[in-house]
Amino acid sequence: MGKGQIVAGCIAPHPPHLVYAENPPQNEPVAEGGWEQLRWGYERLRASLSEHDYDAIVLLSPHWQTYVGTHFLGLPHFEGLSVDPIFPNLFRYHYDMNVDVELAQAIHDEAAKAGLPVKMMENPDFRVDYGTITTGHLFNPDWDKPLVVISSNRSTAYYSVEVMQEIMIELGKVTRKAIEASGKRVVVLASNSLSHRHFTTESEVPEDMSKEHITSHAMHLWDMRMIDYMRSGQAQRILDEMPEFTEQAIAESDGGGLSWLLSTLDVPDYPAILHGYGTIIGTGNAVVEWPCYAHEVNDE
């Protein structure tokens, strides 16, 4: 078996609005469009990755929130109805997905070896969180690749962004190690918004784009600063500024996804590709790809 490889790493936002706006057959509500900038961004990401074959998607979702350790979906198949508890009017999605349990177990085992509290989730009644479903759908609408789904440990809430980041950097290292040992070609996804201050009201027509904008200038500046670092290959600076960014932009990076992603990618010093940016109920969201395929040497 050859050495496994990370084909690409991405930040990919998961507000249910994007799925709602697209009207896929799996989602019950019907929209008149909306949030096109971001949906086109996802289209460009899919097009960019379509030229690269891969075996599995490893995804960390901030909406599977675990306070006791980091958990991994541990059964090969999940299906059911995902209803967003915050926006049930927009997202009631019938999902049917496969899990790469072997790879999940391998990452779990590596993490346990490194001393992280981890658990496989093997309850067949478990409802997969809507962050995973949304990103899963937008990234791969055909659902034809198995996923590894990692929960978001809430160590930011318990300790601090610094402690969260230490844990996530460790989790990223073992994720990478397990992928390399698996012999598989993998895309890693941090399901994540950037600045995360929501509006507290919803317009009559949720997809009314005349109402959509960033909640404040400060949020915009933070989003652009982070995107600049991504586009100029300065991942380390993102990690360095993570505490300030997370606190001041109330960023969804508190869930650790972005720190984990950058660590899994070995803190890339090459530019990421920005496929799209847009706001969703005021939060800042970017679709960004680190094209590892162009920078890693595959020793097969």
Binding site: V68, P85, N123, S203
Partner: protein
């Protein structure tokens, strides 16, 4: 029909251990027994409604109320999935949910009902309803915790709930699904190793329980922010359920409390507490902040600057004062600060203008008032109710209450100018419905300005800029 009342209140823990694994730990068993005892008490009280405020159901867009009459699913906890699954099929009082939702809007709150097959009912609500209402015989209603809600918003949420309990004559039980200290162990533990995470958490929990046992619910509410800082991990929702529960009980400190159990669940503080509304006769209340009847907070962040007019309505109309007949109005023009010029007379004690003009202007010894309506200063509520809703649908209103409010507003402006009501010399009154309202208006006139004796002209007009039925234009002569 009874008058409608809270017959009992409960604090109950949120984690699924009490349902799925009561026998793995003696403390979890004691919590479960306490739940079972509470369920029996609720049956004995002949309660006909369970109301759950759940801290494990966060919301962003105001508060959400479950309105699916029969939600069914299988709940699996995000953390404790290995304990098993909890299938549920609940009996939800959808009528009450819709009425509460409407009452919330009446009191200026952002609110909506959810009725969607497969909606993920949160663990705290599932545990509470499974154990407190095991045979589903009592209809229930569940409300979310809004992430951004402050004390006034949470208090008003309770008051609107009480409005409906009274209107429907219900015997309701108010339940908060919550942890005390919520710090769990961050690693996996064996059931027998469970204990409160730290001595500090334990001491705070015991202090809270001491207060609750003494019936000092409002005091716990007033300590909420301190408790949050001391023993709460910043999860999605802060320690706000005590605001709601205290307001559900009339913000009292003389309730009768009983601690049924207090134990650790994976390190967090779990307690089952029964609060009986019977007065102990002791326990004074000093209310530390304004007791809010209508929510007046900033929620209009969606609108851009160009739509600030619409914002102004939403924000200013969100609050209203507390008299029974007074209802917040839902539509109308933006409000302005009164203009300032030589001789102008303006006061915070009168409602804000709907255009660029002062409340009154003095020329020599004459005082000319701008048209005065019944809107209440500060809150913009209309005593007697608005004459139509935001869609222009006519509403029932009380012309006498409106006329009284106009006269009171006139008096405030007149007195601000240093004049008195007996110096009013001429009044022009505008009525939007002469046929319906003249008699009522005339009656109030006779009791008030009629006694002063100004000349008067009453006109029927098509409409006024806000949803009011009466406005007066007043001239005062105030010799030095």
């Amino acid at each position: 029909m009874s008058q409608g009342e809270i017959v009992a209140s409960y604090v109950v823990p949120v984690h699924p251990h009490t349902v799925l694994a009561p026998d793995q730990n003696a403390g979890w068993r004691r919590l479960r027994d306490a739940f079972d005892e509470a369920a029996q008490t609720i049956r004995d009280l002949d309660a006909d409604l369970l109301i759950i405020y759940s801290t494990t159901w966060p919301s962003i867009i105001g508060h959400q109320i479950q309105a699916d009459p029969n939600p069914e699913w299988v709940m699996v906890d995000h953390d404790f999935h290995d304990l098993g699954s909890i299938p549920y099929s609940f009996n939800i009082d959808a009528d009450f949910a819709h009425a509460w939702n409407e009452a919330n809007k009446q009191r200026g709150l952002q609110s909506r009902c959810v009725n969607y097959k497969g909606f993920p009912i949160d663990v705290g609500s599932v545990v509470a309803l499974t154990l407190l209402n095991p045979d589903n015989s009592i209809p229930a209603v569940i409300v979310s915790s809004n992430m951004y809600a402050n004390r006034s918003e949470t208090t008003v949420l309770a008051k609107s709930c009480l409005d409906v309990i009274k209107a429907q004559g219900r015997r309701a039980v108010a339940i908060t699904a919550m942890s005390l200290s919520n710090r769990m162990f961050t690693d996996f533990i064996q059931p027998e190793e469970d204990k409160i995470h730290s001595l500090k958490d334990d001491e705070w929990n015991r202090k809270i329980l001491e207060f609750l046992e003494q019936g000092r619910l409002e005091d716990v509410g007033q300590l909420s922010r301190t408790i949050h800082r001391q023993i709460r991990v910043q999860k999605v929702v802060a320690f706000k359920p005590m605001w709601w529960l205290s307001a559900m009980n009339g913000n009292r400190n003389d309730l009768t409390g009983r601690i049924l159990a207090y134990e650790a669940i994976h390190g967090a503080g779990g307690a089952v507490v029964h609060i009986d509304p019977t007065s102990t006769g002791v326990g004074d209340k000093e209310y530390d902040e304004d007791d809010v009847e209508y929510f007046h907070g900033e929620r209009g962040v969606l609108e851009g600057a160009e739509e600030s007019e619409k914002d102004a309505i939403q924000n200013t109309n969100a609050g209203a004062d507390s008299t029974d007949e007074s209802t917040a109005s839902d539509s109308g023009p933006a409000l302005w600060d009164p203009t300032e010029a030589k001789g102008s007379v303006n006061t915070d004690a009168a409602p804000k203008p709907v255009g660029a003009y002062p409340h009154a202007r003095k020329v020599g010894d004459m005082l000319f008032l701008s048209g005065v309506g019944p809107r209440q200063p500060g809150t913009n509520a209309i005593p007697g109710g608005p004459i139509h809703d935001e869609n222009g649908e006519p509403l029932e209103y009380d012309i006498k209450a409106q006329t009284h409010a106009v006269v009171n507003n006139v008096k405030r402006i007149v007195e601000e100018a240093g004049a008195t009501m007996d110096q009013v010399v001429d009044v022009t009154t505008f009525l939007v419905d002469m046929k319906r309202d003249f008699a009522g208006y005339n009656e109030v006139w006779a009791e008030t300005l009629g006694k002063v004796g100004p000349t008067r002209t009453t006109l029927a007009i098509d409409a006024l800029p806000t949803p009011i039925a009466v406005e007066m234009k007043v001239i005062v002569h105030m010799p030095e």
